[in-house]
């Protein structure tokens, strides 16, 4: 692996929280992701840095895109990938979570990618098993690779995100994507804004080093990018918002609204989208504005970078040239 420009080895054998990283770690991830991004586009499959490694995707929550993104990222690097998902028998036989974690760890995977509905689940798996762990979403806590791919997408467009004004719009309260993004964008010195109805904002969000808005037109002023978050249908009934009609009218993103933002303002969405609710369909399809598919593409590259960097830092690495499994 190229270490050009870094007199520093990536020190983390796991990625559980953005708070684990420093700006140099992020630069290393972005540099490697840039290489993978171009290779992926060109159809080059040159990097086999995980050759012979075993990666398990341990998804206790339903997911299609994140699971596929991690699977493709790992396979592009030559790893064997095994997927365990919420419905599969091994997880649902009434076994305790600790037993599941220890059982899978006993099969000696090199990396585990964990998604679970409880905050702290990825840290729990890492602590119980000692296996290199990537957090693919733990409750409303964090989804660090999503934040990295978002910032990487913007960095490719702009050169850097520092000094740019970025708005995160929607259900901040229940969003792990928002939490990871606030942490990362703050670290990279972006000017971060949050906008949501008060019921979908954490009580103390004004202490997160961000500006908080309830009015979308005010919030959009001068923004260089907007991340619209998915509004879950079940939020409509819990007394959090009155209706999807009202939400669309006040917080839905469309071309007309974007006139308040800086010229060329980019539109992002972590997916899956509710077209016609948090984002207008025509805007989502506008390739001049929306970088939503670019985010998905960046997702694979960023996850390749994260997987190879943490595996190189892992003290358990066993799949080097001498001892690697035959693949």
């Amino acid at each position: 692996m190229s270490r050009t420009g870094f007199s520093y080895d990536f020190p983390h054998a796991s990625l559980v929280s953005i708070g684990d990283l420093n700006p140099l770690d992020v630069r290393m991830i972005f540099e490697r992701a840039g290489v993978h991004f171009e290779n992926n586009r060109a159809g080059v499959r040159a990097e086999r840095t995980l050759d012979g490694a075993t990666l398990i995707n341990l998804f206790f929550e339903n997911s299609t895109r994140t699971l596929a993104s991690f699977e493709i990222a790992a396979k592009r690097l030559g790893a064997h990938v095994i997927n365990f998902s919420a419905g599969s028998a091994s997880i649902s036989k009434g076994e305790s979570l600790e037993d599941t974690a220890l059982t899978l760890a006993a099969m000696r995977p090199d990396i585990q990618v964990v998604r679970h509905s409880a905050a702290g689940a990825a840290a729990y798996f890492e602590r119980v098993t000692g296996v290199s762990t990537v957090n693919a979403g733990d409750g409303a806590h964090e989804h660090p690779t999503q934040a990295l791919l978002d910032a990487f997408t913007l960095t490719r467009r702009w050169g850097e995100v520092g000094g740019r004004r970025i708005l995160i719009l929607g259900d901040i309260l229940h969003s792990r994507v928002a939490r990871s993004n606030v942490a990362l964008l703050n670290m990279l010195h972006a000017d971060v804004r949050l906008c949501a109805p008060a019921t979908l904002l954490p009580e103390d969000a004004d202490r997160w080093g961000v500006q908080v808005f309830h009015d979308l037109d005010d919030a959009l002023e001068g923004c260089d990018a907007v991340m619209a978050l998915r509004i879950q249908r079940e939020r409509m009934s819990g007394g959090l918002i009155p209706s999807d009609r009202e939400y669309r009218a006040l917080y839905g993103l469309d071309h007309a609204r974007l006139d308040q933002a800086a010229p060329g303002c980019l539109v992002m969405h972590p997916g899956p989208m509710n077209r016609g609710v948090e984002i207008d369909g025509a805007l989502a399809d506008d390739r001049e504005r929306a970088v939503i598919l670019e985010q998905v593409e960046a997702g694979v590259a960023v996850r390749m970078a994260v997987l190879e960097l943490i595996s190189a830092a892992s003290p358990n690495q066993r799949y080097d040239d001498e001892t690697g499994d035959a693949s």
């Binding site: 979570l97 600790e98 905050a119 702290g120 806590h141 964090e142 954490p202 009580e203 103390d204 202490r207």
Partner: protein
């Protein structure tokens, strides 16, 4: 009955605020004599304390057990841990096991009491999980210390009013959980900057205040005596103080964990700190300590619950709430005293005279004729609260904490039930 003579003790009686050196004789299960100097008599077993503290054994107002268990969560295990922790009287929470809703449910407690080293007193459920009233009158006649909602805040105010009015007719304390049921549902943390960053489902501290305000209004309406079961926030303390200023018949307990820890202790999603109520802010913790000194707190309770390893082997939000605290109750309070936050008398009062007065118990004081429930402890000895040093090794928020104060002897009804050095 044997006769014990403790000599050279530092006698501390929180009930009378007495703190002086002296001797104490126990005969026939009661305190026979207290004086500056007592001459040994033939047949006296003389124990020289060399300045160690002799105080009333502790009364723990809330310990949750599973009467059906013979393991760490059972009554026997709790009684043994209590003895080691200097607790002479253990009040078993109404929500123990499936809940005590009828006097027959006390049978396992009565059975355990035959061999228990410590005194066991059950408390009854005033309202069960189905919204029905427990057999309040019969449970009180069968010896229940109090009745209560058993840690489950009842959303139906009409039902709470009726249970209060009914129990009030027996002049008993009705313990109410200080939470708003809907605000607390599905949460595991207190709303704060920290819990929001951690993405934990959280409840506002104001929910506790709402519950205290509702209780105060119901106390006014029914004239019932309301015990606020585990008050933990500064906001709720202010509501309590205002109720007490209006001469309402209210009292409050505080869980020992909330005197020692704040929400920052959960920082690493550590399931040992998954407690109910959840840990609060440092400001709340300091307010609770100040509330002692002002006399607004009647009792500090262990709120002990022995959770199995399996119940704790989950990510923080899904782990079972609870902590094994019986052996930490005294050292935790003594640690606060050692830090200079409380005097020894202030530290001991809410686990001796406070609960004794609250529940009308004869023990919990050093007075001739009072039951000889006593402890001897070293208030300055450093201890590490490690599972291997404990009788109850279940998950505890105090695990590996350095505390101050060591129980040397526990005496219940004149009999030495715990003396590790001998």
């Amino acid at each position: 009955m044997s006769t014990l003579l403790f000599r050279g003790a530092r006698l501390i009686d929180p009930a009378t605020r007495h703190d002086d050196t002296g001797d104490l004789r126990v005969r026939g299960g009661v305190i026979a004599e207290i004086a500056a100097h007592i001459e040994p008599e033939p047949g006296d077993r003389v124990i020289d304390l060399d300045g160690a503290v002799l105080a009333p054994a502790l009364i723990d107002g809330r310990c949750r057990v599973n009467p059906a268990s013979s393991g760490a969560g059972g009554i026997d295990a709790a009684a043994r841990a209590a003895a080691a922790g200097g607790i002479g009287t253990l009040i078993l929470a109404p929500d123990s096991g499936a809940g005590f809703t009828r006097p027959e449910h006390f049978a396992p407690v009565d059975a355990a009491a035959l061999t228990s080293p410590v005194r066991l007193i059950p408390a009854g459920l005033a309202i069960d999980g189905d919204g029905e009233m427990g057999e309040i009158g019969q449970m009180l006649r069968a010896g229940a210390a109090y009745v209560g909602d058993g840690g489950r805040p009842e959303p139906d105010t009409r039902l709470v009013r009726r249970a209060l009015a009914y129990a009030g007719g027996f002049d008993a304390w009705t313990a109410l959980t200080c939470e708003d049921a809907a605000l607390a549902r599905g949460t595991c943390a207190t709303e704060s900057d920290l819990s929001m960053r951690m993405g934990l489902p959280a409840r506002p501290a104001a929910g506790e205040r709402l519950a205290v305000e509702r209780a105060a209004v119901l106390a006014e309406l029914t004239g019932a005596r309301i015990l606020l079961d585990r008050i933990t926030t500064a906001m709720a303390l202010r509501a309590l103080e205002s109720a007490l200023a209006r001469d309402l018949d209210m009292a409050a307990t505080v869980p020992v964990t909330h005197l020692m820890f704040n929400e920052m202790d959960t920082g690493g999603f550590d399931a040992r700190y998954r407690l109910e109520p959840p840990l609060r802010s440092e400001e709340d913790r300091l307010a609770l300590i100040r509330a002692f000194q002002a006399g607004a707190i009647s009792a500090v309770v262990s709120d002990h619950r022995a959770c199995t390893g399996e119940a704790k082997a989950h990510p923080f939000p899904e782990a079972q709430p609870g902590s094994a605290n019986l052996e930490a109750l005294l050292p935790a309070l003594l640690s606060l005293a050692a830090e200079g936050r409380l005097s020894l008398i202030e530290a001991l009062w809410p686990v001796t005279a406070g609960p004794a007065d609250l529940f009308g118990l004869d023990q919990g004081r050093l007075a001739p004729g009072a039951p000889a429930d006593l402890i001897v402890f070293d208030p300055d000895a450093p201890v590490i609260h490690a599972p291997r040093h404990r009788v109850c090794s279940a998950s505890s928020a105090f695990d590996q904490r350095r505390l101050t104060g060591k129980v040397l002897i526990t005496v219940v009804e004149g009999a030495i039930i715990h003396q590790p050095e001998s």
